[in-house]
Symmetry: C2
Subunit: 147 residues, 2 copies
């Protein structure tokens, strides 16, 4: 599978969140060209402020690999991660982080703050704008319906 | 109880982590002068890169209050939180964050990065240097023993 196909899987997760009336963001984690974890935002249904798609996917991947270090993995997420989720990706030693659309309100890859410009020991390689429009339009639809 | 006493409870949690051979950081969350959650770092034992003291305490407080918003709470933590944990505190709408010692390697309240200087909708009030020496010496002892 290629980058577009993995991001399509993350979008499928975002659509699950949408159907559950959660902010529609989805994530998958890849190791050796295989999806090892997938998750979507579940903050409201779990009543857990940390239940963002990326954080849930990271916890699931750590469970699957039986390790707190997700070496060699790629994290695909439909929207630019917030400081909490990018921080988790840094601690997990995720190698590559691929996101769809920027998040001006909470994005930590340069939109609101730039953790990538700091002196952390480890920083994932960042690739952006993969299926950006599709990721963004799902989010915009969600918020427009709730105005 | 006063601030010193609450921080002493966080230090008790840090000592539990130390005894479990985890990086010794502890946290408690207070609502209406009562401890509603307490936790210590468990990254290695849980094999979960997100199992920092603050994140575990926030998840526990959300469970106790049956809400993803921890309005009116204070989070006490022995060491300056990292971006992941400060990000979680922001999402949880924690009102006040009190920490002991700064963390030059990962602190997000100004030591490595400064999330407090960004434009998040919500930012907790920060109080630092409460039982700083005691919090720091426990951490230093841990790392000295492992050199």
């Amino acid at each position: 599978m290629d980058r577009i196909q993995f991001m399509q899987e993350a979008i499928l997760e975002a659509k699950k969140a949408y159907n559950e009336e959660e902010v529609p963001i989805g994530a998958v984690i890849i190791l050796n060209d295989q999806i090892i974890a997938r998750a979507h935002n579940r903050v409201r249904n779990l009543k857990d402020p940390t239940a963002h798609a990326e954080l849930l996917a990271i916890k699931e991947a750590a469970r699957v690999l039986n390790s707190e270090r997700l070496l060699g993995t790629s994290l695909y997420v439909t929207i630019e991660p917030c400081p909490m989720c990018l921080g988790a990706a840094i601690w997990a030693r995720i190698e590559e982080l691929i996101y769809g659309a920027p998040d001006p309100k909470a994005g930590a890859c340069g939109s609101l703050v730039d953790l990538m410009n700091s002196n952390f020991n480890h920083r994932p390689r960042i690739i952006k704008d993969i299926l950006k429009d599709e990721s963004l339009s799902l989010l915009q639809k969600f918020f427009l319906e709730r105005r």
